[in-house]
């Protein structure tokens, strides 16, 4: 009875999921689709909604539909949705992607604003080849937040601030010292740059050296915290453990009302030195290339950028609006926070829009981490960063003539068809086919569904591996991607980030995980299987728990537990009298963190499989053995173990495949730290596809190689298993 109720509930839900949504509303009004990536429930999101409402009030024939996107998925979503006509009319994003968007033909030019309400340099930053592509909405740059009860007077320089005597556990100058975005402000003061005008990497040489040396001095003197993340910086400042913090306008909403603070434009790095210049990010509204209502979208963009829209965003969203005229409003003019950021933005350096810009942060950050965490000599670390950047921006394989490949494919296809026809002529095959007909009726729908929706996409994905290029802009490149991967892109075969090194890590990862999964799983199952054990049911329920929690939730909570300052693991170590460990600074500890997380995730599966196998071993075998005088130990090795091996083999093989491709844990826990060394093949492939200039073809070649390795492995495993079974028989 209960079971059929469950089945009925399933059916009802299914019907509701598949049935079309409630009847469409009257389509006389124009609906504008607007996408953004503001945080859930943030003031910015609320303000945007209010501004959109105000626009609709003025244009009753229109509706505005806002969609909040997850920040991490925003870019790839725009890239797939706009070209296929599924995208928004208008979207909001930072200015530094404008060149990328123009290259991908995702946005259309907008008309230049009539009056001089926007800074010329801001419009310039949003222009590509002399045409304006975005309407500036708001400005973001770093400034100095000062705790006024700890530090009443304005500091004369960052260095003077760093040298201030301070109480134990209080940091004078907090910022993300390993983040090239913040360090760039100092670099600019030393006359250096991250990227030159041609898109070349410039975080090398004397200016970079001086900058890194300065940061290193601050960290080593205890003025700036080690391994500071945005989270840590926020926490230290909010709790009164920081005299100052370098951050942007996004910090303010998270600070408690009781905290006395003010904001200052960044002072010079050293006494009397050059001014520090943080990067300026201009948040802009872009009219999408495939917009259904481009004119209305442009009007909405203007409304959000100027006048009432700008005032709403400034007042309700606390945004530093780009519209200069908005600051004539008496309320804004007297707002110290917004006008300070406005002044800071005027002095800041608009971030270059060269597509290489976003590729420069990863190698520059790695160089900083190498110096600050491992004490590597500065020039070596900078040089290594430059090599990384060259690797990321290396010229892609050029187009090849596809004729040969097409001919080859044609010949193979012909041969295949020919062989098929010959087999069909064979009467025995025909008879077998006729006999198979009833079976086909049972499997046809499954084959159709899996073939169309699983195998076809995978096949198309695999074909991409013969193409090269960025994003959807691909050309045929033959086997060039494979050649590059297998030759480690011309570097050392076991050098940093080479396929072979990552493969080695992946194999180590898989073997250790499986050994621990099986070891722990079998041990627990044997314990649970003891006939005299009490509380068996409770133990079993609790031990299955890790399996029931979604793996991304688990991964993120383990990452939190391995946190350098706030993690429970370090709290435990400190309580035991050990030094806290910086888990993601060394390969061994970061790898261990991943391993512990994945062991936690995976042992319940093996335990349950083992329990099932144990329960199906006939009891009389043991009884007979006991009669013959066999000890418990002998019973285990003679009966349990030989019967467990074949029962566990399929689960272990499956587990090996899953572990080999366990993306979530590696990506979310260590994220490849330190320095990409804990990356496994599948997470590396993901990075090539989505975070390193969208080299889909290159990533697809990785995927095909992973596939081939796993096929070879499973063949070998099957053969090994067959041999074991043979021996037994």
């Amino acid at each position: 009875m209960r079971r059929s109720a469950g089945a009925a509930a399933l059916l009802v839900l299914t019907a509701l999921a598949v049935c079309p949504p409630a009847a469409g509303r009257a389509q006389e009004t124009t609906t504008l689709r607007v996408w953004h990536a503001y945080g859930q429930g943030s003031a910015e999101e609320t303000a945007l909604r209010q501004a959109a409402d105000a626009y609709v009030e003025a244009h009753p024939d229109q509706r505005v539909e806002l969609l909040a996107n997850a920040f991490g998925a925003y870019l790839s979503k725009l890239e797939s949705a706009i070209p296929t006509g599924n995208g928004p009319d208008l979207f909001i994003d930072a200015h530094e992607r404008v060149t990328h968007y123009v290259e991908r033909r995702l946005i259309t030019p907008v008309e230049a604003p009539s009056s001089g309400r926007f800074d010329a340099s801001q419009l310039e930053a949003l222009s590509v080849e002399g045409r304006l592509y975005g309407v500036p909405l708001s400005l973001k740059c770093a400034a100095l937040y000062v705790n006024t009860s700890l530090l009443p007077e304005a500091p004369s320089s960052l260095d003077a601030l760093a040298r201030r005597p301070h109480a134990e556990g209080v940091f004078p100058l907090v910022f993300e010292a390993e983040n090239a975005y913040y360090v760039a402000a100092l670099l600019h003061a030393h006359g250096g740059r991250l990227l030159d005008d041609e898109g070349g990497y410039a975080f090398v040489g004397p200016a970079a050296h001086a900058t890194v040396a300065e940061v290193q001095r601050w960290v080593e003197s205890g003025a700036t915290p080690e391994e500071a993340t945005g989270e840590l910086a926020k926490r230290l400042f909010a709790s009164g453990h920081a005299l100052s913090v370098i951050s942007g306008p996004w910090l303010a909403p998270d600070l408690p009302d009781s905290l006395p603070y003010r904001v200052l434009p960044l002072p010079p790095a050293t006494e009397g030195g050059e001014a520090t210049r943080p990067y300026l990010t201009i948040e802009a509204a872009y009219v999408a290339a495939q917009a259904q209502h481009p004119a209305e979208a442009a009007a909405l963009a203007d409304f959000l950028a100027h006048g009432p829209g700008a005032l709403i965003r400034a007042k309700a969203g606390r945004q530093v609006v780009a519209d200069a005229a908005a600051f004539d409003d008496p309320e804004l003019a007297s707002d110290a926070f917004l006008s300070t950021f406005r002044r800071a933005a005027a002095a800041a350096l608009p971030m270059p829009t060269h597509p290489h810009m976003r590729l420069a942060f990863e190698p520059a950050g790695q160089a900083l981490r190498k110096v600050l965490r491992t004490g590597m000599p500065i020039d070596d670390a900078l040089e290594e960063g430059a090599r990384r950047f060259r690797d990321l921006t290396r010229p892609l394989p050029g187009p090849r003539d596809p004729t040969l490949a097409l001919v080859l494919v044609g010949v193979v296809l012909l041969g295949f068809v020919f062989a098929m026809l010959r087999r069909l002529k064979d009467p025995a095959t025909r008879a077998a086919l006729v006999r198979s007909m009833p079976a086909y009726r049972w499997v046809a729908h499954a084959f159709l569904a899996v073939g169309l929706l699983v195998i076809l996409p995978l096949f198309v994905g695999a074909l991409t591996s013969f193409f090269s290029g960025h994003g959807t802009d691909l050309h045929y490149a033959g086997l060039a991607n494979y050649a590059e991967i297998l030759s480690a892109r011309g570097g050392e075969l076991l050098g940093h980030g080479s396929f072979w090194l990552v493969l080695l890590v992946t194999v180590l990862w898989t073997v250790l995980n499986l050994a621990l999964h099986v070891g722990i799983g079998v041990l627990l199952a044997l314990l649970l299987n003891r006939p005299t054990l009490r509380l068996k049911g409770m133990y079993r329920v609790l031990l299955i728990l890790p399996w029931a929690v979604p793996s991304y939730v688990t991964a993120l909570s383990w990452k939190g537990m391995f946190h350098r300052q706030f993690g429970a693991v370090n709290a435990l170590l400190t309580a035991l009298g050990a030094e806290p460990v910086s888990f993601f600074a060394h390969f061994s500890t970061a790898f261990t963190a991943n391993l512990v997380t994945n062991v936690w995730l995976g042992f319940p599966f093996m335990m349950v499989v083992t329990l099932g196998a144990l329960s199906s071993i006939p009891k009389d075998l043991y009884e007979a053995a006991a009669v013959d005088g066999a000890t418990k130990k002998q019973q285990f090795w003679r009966i349990t173990a030989p019967l467990l091996v074949p029962a566990l083999a399929p689960a272990v093989a499956m587990g090996a495949v899953w572990t080999f491709n366990m993306f979530n844990v590696v990506f979310l826990v260590s994220g490849g730290e330190p320095d990409g060394s804990t990356e496994i093949l599948v997470s590396d492939a993901y990075r090539w596809a989505f975070t390193r200039s969208n080299q889909y073809g290159y990533a697809a070649a990785y995927a095909v190689l992973i596939f081939l390795i796993l096929v070879l492995f499973s063949k070998a495993a099957a053969r090994g298993l067959a041999r074991v079974e043979e021996k037994k028989a």
């Binding site: 609790l542 991304y552 099932g612």
Partner: protein
């Protein structure tokens, strides 16, 4: 006498070992619970995961989002997740069970090849398929819909479901359905009335796996869906951990809401889990 002491020692030993394992298993979960109960939700360096001032603010903030235009949006999204996971489960079972039965009982041309192809789908990293799938769903006009997602999830779950169910069918003696067929039942009738009931534990486990596939997935959902009213809960959860503002407390509260239904299912099906996973692989 000695024997008894030995078994007492062994019993204490196994309880100690099991308790250690239980501690390892539930500690991270307690940590998430503690985070969810901390208003503001900032993780602290503490060994015992219990908030200093427990409050339900995070749960209220996550579940109580009411919107003037669209009403109780969280309820809508919870419903989406439930409906999509339920439909996925049903569709995957409906597609996989007959195929698995044929794989177990019939010999046919191409059987070996198709088993190999099904196995191969489990080895190919899904990263490579996301973009082709996007284009495919777009061509079918199902891009921004719940049905589209159900279609993708269900077919993804089918290969593993076929393996599972085939193992279970292999373990069911053929005499059962043959007897029914002698009594005049058709093959299909015997399958529905005799074989399926005997394979119930394995079906429960397969259903659980399919349900989890759909319930926990977020990368494809975030890519395919562009309307908040069709979002699933994992997509919503992702947004709590943004670029600048990570609301760990809200994320943890949402994570617990997302985990509870799966835990309930696990609890409900756990007796089947033990038998259902391995049926067929051990033949004594």
């Amino acid at each position: 006498m000695r024997r008894q002491r030995g078994s007492l020692l062994a019993s204490v030993g196994s309880h100690v070992a099991l308790l250690i394992a239980v501690g390892f298993a539930i500690y991270p979960v307690l940590w998430v619970v503690s985070l969810a109960l901390t208003a503001g939700g900032a993780p602290e360096a503490q060994i015992i995961p219990w908030p200093a001032h427990p409050s339900l603010d995070n749960f209220r903030a996550v579940a109580g989002q009411v919107d003037a235009e669209r009403g109780w949006i969280f309820g809508q999204q919870l419903f989406n997740s439930l409906a999509i996971a339920a439909a996925t489960t049903l569709a995957a079972l409906a597609i996989a069970t007959p195929a698995a039965y044929a794989m177990s009982r019939f010999d046919f041309v191409g059987k070996k090849g198709s088993m190999a192809a099904l196995l191969a789908t489990q080895m190919f990293p899904g990263v490579a398929a996301a973009i082709p799938l996007y284009l495919l769903l777009d061509a079918l006009g199902m891009l921004d819909t719940r049905s589209g997602l159900v279609l993708v999830y269900a077919t993804t779950a089918v290969p593993f479901a076929i393996f599972q169910m085939r193992g279970a069918f292999d373990a069911i003696p053929r005499d059962l359905e043959e007897a029914a067929m002698v009594d005049g039942a058709t093959r299909f009738g015997a399958f529905v009335r005799v074989v399926l009931p005997a394979a119930r534990p394995a079906m429960a486990v397969t259903a659980l796996f399919a349900f989890m596939t759909a319930w926990n997935e977020f990368i494809l959902a975030a890519t395919f869906l562009s309307r908040e009213e069709v979002f699933t809960l994992p997509v919503v959860l992702q947004r709590f951990v943004g670029e600048h503002d990570a609301h760990w407390g809200l994320f943890a509260a949402g994570a617990i809401i997302v985990s509870v239904p799966v835990m309930a299912l696990f609890y409900w099906l756990q007796r089947h889990l033990v038998g259902g996973l391995t049926s067929g692989s051990v033949k004594g």
